[in-house]
Symmetry: D2
Subunit: 337 residues, 4 copies
Amino acid sequence: MLIVMDRSASQEDIQRVVAAIEAHGLTPHPIPGELRTAVGVTGNKGAVDTAAFENLPGVLEIIPVSHPYKLVSREFHPSDTVVPVGGVPVGGTRTIVIAGPCAVETLEQTVTIAKAVKERGADLLRGGAFKPRTSPYSFQGLGDKGLDILAAAREETGLPVVTEVLDTASVELVASKADCLQIGARNMQNFELLKAAGRTGKPVLLKRGMSATLEEFLLAAEYVMAEGNPNVILCERGVRTFSDFTRNTLDLAIIPAVKRISHLPILVDPSHGTGKRNKVIPMSRAAIAAGADGIAVEVHHKPEEALSDGPQALTPDMFADLMKQLRPIAEAVGRSL
Amino acid sequence: MLIVMDRSASQEDIQRVVAAIEAHGLTPHPIPGELRTAVGVTGNKGAVDTAAFENLPGVLEIIPVSHPYKLVSREFHPSDTVVPVGGVPVGGTRTIVIAGPCAVETLEQTVTIAKAVKERGADLLRGGAFKPRTSPYSFQGLGDKGLDILAAAREETGLPVVTEVLDTASVELVASKADCLQIGARNMQNFELLKAAGRTGKPVLLKRGMSATLEEFLLAAEYVMAEGNPNVILCERGVRTFSDFTRNTLDLAIIPAVKRISHLPILVDPSHGTGKRNKVIPMSRAAIAAGADGIAVEVHHKPEEALSDGPQALTPDMFADLMKQLRPIAEAVGRSL
Amino acid sequence: MLIVMDRSASQEDIQRVVAAIEAHGLTPHPIPGELRTAVGVTGNKGAVDTAAFENLPGVLEIIPVSHPYKLVSREFHPSDTVVPVGGVPVGGTRTIVIAGPCAVETLEQTVTIAKAVKERGADLLRGGAFKPRTSPYSFQGLGDKGLDILAAAREETGLPVVTEVLDTASVELVASKADCLQIGARNMQNFELLKAAGRTGKPVLLKRGMSATLEEFLLAAEYVMAEGNPNVILCERGVRTFSDFTRNTLDLAIIPAVKRISHLPILVDPSHGTGKRNKVIPMSRAAIAAGADGIAVEVHHKPEEALSDGPQALTPDMFADLMKQLRPIAEAVGRSL
Amino acid sequence: MLIVMDRSASQEDIQRVVAAIEAHGLTPHPIPGELRTAVGVTGNKGAVDTAAFENLPGVLEIIPVSHPYKLVSREFHPSDTVVPVGGVPVGGTRTIVIAGPCAVETLEQTVTIAKAVKERGADLLRGGAFKPRTSPYSFQGLGDKGLDILAAAREETGLPVVTEVLDTASVELVASKADCLQIGARNMQNFELLKAAGRTGKPVLLKRGMSATLEEFLLAAEYVMAEGNPNVILCERGVRTFSDFTRNTLDLAIIPAVKRISHLPILVDPSHGTGKRNKVIPMSRAAIAAGADGIAVEVHHKPEEALSDGPQALTPDMFADLMKQLRPIAEAVGRSL
């Protein structure tokens, strides 16, 4: 941490800051410059709470140097983490594909789609039983019954199941029936939910919030890990910007950024990330080329009848085409699919 | 709703769209143009789900015309809503001021601040017992004990209490001890929490999400109202943009925008909206001048010792100055304070 | 400037950085911490170019402490600057109002509007002779002829004229006929134009770019001032964000931010800043309440026939109402109008 | 175009709109709905100027259906455009690589880098002679002398030259010495410069503005093409968002979006798009995988001594590695490199 003093700060102001640093058990390093003085602070184990210094007279600004996350950090855990989801390793040399409908609608629909994606090479089945919907008048998902349908589809196909959990009250229920708990973008900073998901010990697929910085995203993962659960999978799904030709702006540079400072695997969701079916395949290729550990896509056998997010779902034929296109890209970056 | 067909759409494609509209009990109005055909849709009561049409062959795009919200809309409720919070009317001709510490720390701290803001003209007391913190290692609030401290401060000063609720599990508890439930920006689309808060019937202060559009904000309020709870107060607290001289960008134009399409009262939080103490007073003036129904500000008697968000809190003296500056602005817009 | 070393940086790496700092005639201050070393740098007059250090082995990041602007800075010029535009002081205790059509269309239109705004209290006349238009097929302005019309309207009303200049080739021409050169948002970083405008010595009204940070905005003003021209007036006109109920997001907190670090006057353009006629008056009030030195608004006597930006122009009656509403706000902040 | 009437609009209001449409030589199509009436408009050749209708009484909003661009549009020119730059085709089946220093510094530096990138497979040489710099105190480029250095490097290596032009006054000069004129992000809406570049007939590499929508980007290209110059190459270089781990947010989904509606080639600049050397290679792979027609990257043989943007430049060795990694990606998408 660096405390930058105002140009007009007096020697007394500087002494007060130095004393406050020492009072916190830290070491001050005053650096007198031509125009102003700055005071370096060392001796802290993690990030220092800046509030204690920010309001002292003569302080212009505080520049943090350490970051507040630990468990998610590559500095504390140098090798890549591989998260096993129902036997499928996420992270590592293989890239994986999660596929399925946006919402679980019926047993027949879900099993049909699960079989279709399994045959075409999917590794995990996705599908929403509890759906977060912008409008209270939109279809809200089948709830508990949807979880049973997903379990039946797993039985039928052998695909482990990833599904969203919306509220602490249903965390136990979802954890008892699914292989991986998804926490959606809207809940990325629902800290009680993060803690509850952490306590289940189950793998957690954590989606980046619509306007989350990388530090906020990693700290959300830190909430899960701080409960003793190391099984966190990150997922970029687009952020909100002025750019209006896609529903969100897929921020793929987060992939090398995460790989540099964290050991956690990171996937990309090009379906929500673009909101447009015709951009799903090119952006899936781009994600794998950028180094993602896999993708999560929406597939529906009758997208024009889908109860939720139809316009971005691929048909089974398009999904087969996607898989065919992804394989050489995965190989080009030294991985398999 | 307007369905715009591709230039290359065939007569068959257009007929299929017309038939699909009729199959939904709606009325199609084909409009053949020089370059393409569009099909107007009427007969709907609210917004139509576009998914049923978006994927039909030859459809280029769907342009919604109706909005999906109802109860929050001025079209359905022409006169301004006034929400009573512990006897204090929010909305209407008087503008109101909510003040207090970011976090409840101790009984003494909270009562001291409550008395200070009461004496200087505040209408309602704010203070966080459950705190949403970006890092799991930051102070998370006193919880239940904090609620009792707030109740004691109310006893002492007569100020009704507004406090945040983070999770469905504690909605009942908070509703039993506070006068108004605050739902924070990070939970604006925590739909289970919105429903639970709606069911309490208590006034709900709903903060705009960091990247929420106006429609999403109003639909979040619609979730609360759809549970039979008409007591919703909106609050602008800044949105996330590239602009970096404040912590968030306070989007004050939302005040006339809300007033035009909704009947709900709207407040402004310039403390979180700017994150900088020296910008709180000017932006409070601007909020009242733009037509806000009041403001919510953080006050701390020792901001340099505050456990949370110290740099944006006003001292009691600064708060007195704020009140003095706001009164003539309120009068200039034909209101009292 | 603070150079933060990687945790794995060797003593050799640190020595190399120290030597490089000294080689630049600056003074290094190594601060060894528990986890890493940082090196403070002093002895610089302004901002140091970081490129020389950023790529040395073992350097994690460079944190600038000084800012690269000088002439615009309050540190170098403590008292507020007042810019005289054709005899009207901009800045200081009076707030001013610039009004007129978006585009100069005809002599009659311009004189009619100029008289209308003069009678209702405007201080300066605005109007575009050279128009920057997003589409090459939109009306591009009358050019030179438009400048003559503006001059005639000044003759008729006594109002000094503010008009936009688009290109270095016409800077001399515009400077010879107008009282103040406007540089639009799209040209805020057209550095050749900034320099040319600076060389005229004429007052320059500089609009903030659509995605400009405060530092970039001030550096654009620094380009004008570095040519020896102290007469710069800043103008906030909205930035581009995801927020879609206005055409741009009016970032009013920039007013106290500018006042804190610069001595230049700052105006607000609520017409372009919102793009919606019904939001111009509330946001004008907010701008003055926040401390702006004035506003610039579009007025048209027949907005439904305007060739450019009709939907945001006020009628003369609405302009009269605006003036009436602004006066008590200006008084409430201790100023006149 | 669809004109949506207010719910409270009278029959008279609707008749007035219908008459106004007819007065413009267009055909009105009233669509009475349950809650409101909308009026479709046909008969227009391109986009209609909405201003004439937006302010008529009873009009709620205008929804444009046609787009204002023509020449850039795939509807008007179905097959892909290939732009020849000094004999190198840009667009088509081969992907191309533009490489070179950010700024031309000396003859020796430029020739050294040009040879290095030529040997490693670059197709075109880039290098700035006129540099747009945020601060007036930063190195502004060698100007005319820099153009001669670039010409000498072309002589030496055979690589055609791409270089930026900043102002209409130097367009002729740059066009006489370079093979392709680059128009930078800051000048994307410098319309006079676009027209002047269009008039040279030379290939123009047009970079997307920092906050440009796709429509604005295409309309900027339309300005060049409207002067009779079909040789436009688009370039995505990152947009400005809140996301702070890169200097800009590289919006790769624009590649399939452009390919869908325009026939122009599109490149990606991952150096400016990320601002971080360690992200250039992964994002270059992603760009090619997403379907870009090539990339433009900065290379410097001594990046730690570069006068401009050192931190994002690749060394020649890293550039060789980039080329090696890109080839299998290009093949995976059915192209060569």
